[in-house]
Amino acid sequence: MKVLYFAWLRERIGKAEEEVVFPASISTARDAMQHLATQGEEYAYAFENPQIIRIALDRRHVPPETPIGAAREIAFFPPMTGG
């Protein structure tokens, strides 16, 4: 699955995107985030406050409890500050 990071998540993790094969036990977007948080110090730092992180599945905002299902792309980012 393609995983994207934006803004300070991207900076903390040190990459903008990567391919991740999630274990079969990963069901929801929150599960995916928790799994990524275990992948090293930089990930732990990026995801240290999971409650403020926004998630998009296939380029749509979703709540963390959303099943990732057959989505091809998941993105993690801080609250938006455009406009």
């Binding site: 998009a56 905002h61 993105a75 801080p78 455009g82």
Partner: protein, 151 residues
């Protein structure tokens, strides 16, 4: 059904050309409202803003917000342009144009678009300070969430 025009681009936009695009040759439009958002220097403290975006999703989300506005108000046209990249104080960041037979529809929908765009469109601003220090990511304002919640 009106189809909104959505653009995400690094280049500046031309306000007059966009308004002309929405209104020239038409006789049914009574009101055109434009909102231009500009980069402020914060009393000289800010040298530049760097705008990061999520390509693809940014356009999709702006289109969804515009489609919501088209469902809520009797609009004859909607344009939303959002820039990305490094912007200097005085540079424009975002343009919203709404056209309607009625002035309140044009005002309210432009205001709605700006409120929702700020909380839903995947853009992030990083500040570069005038003293050369690489700045912080701008924190989302609770006031922006509240502004969107009033609709």
């Amino acid at each position: 059904m009106v189809v909104p025009e959505i653009r995400v681009q690094a280049e500046p936009f031309d306000l007059a050309a966009e308004v002309a695009r929405i209104s020239v040759g038409r006789q049914d439009i009574g009101a055109v409202v434009t909102f231009t958002g500009l980069c402020r220097s914060e009393n000289g403290a800010l040298a530049a803003l760097e705008l990061e975006h999520y390509p693809g999703m940014a356009e999709d989300e702006l289109r969804r917000v515009a489609d919501d506005a088209i469902r809520r108000w009797p609009l004859d046209g909607v344009i939303v342009i959002h820039r990305y990249g490094k912007l200097r104080p005085g540079d424009s960041i975002v343009l919203v144009v709404t056209a309607s037979a009625h002035r309140q529809a044009a005002f309210e929908s432009a205001n709605y678009l700006m409120d929702y765009l700020k909380t839903r469109a995947p853009f992030w601003k990083k500040e570069h300070a005038s003293d050369g220090s690489s700045g912080d990511w701008v924190a989302a304002k609770q006031a922006d969430e509240q502004a969107a919640d009033r609709w």
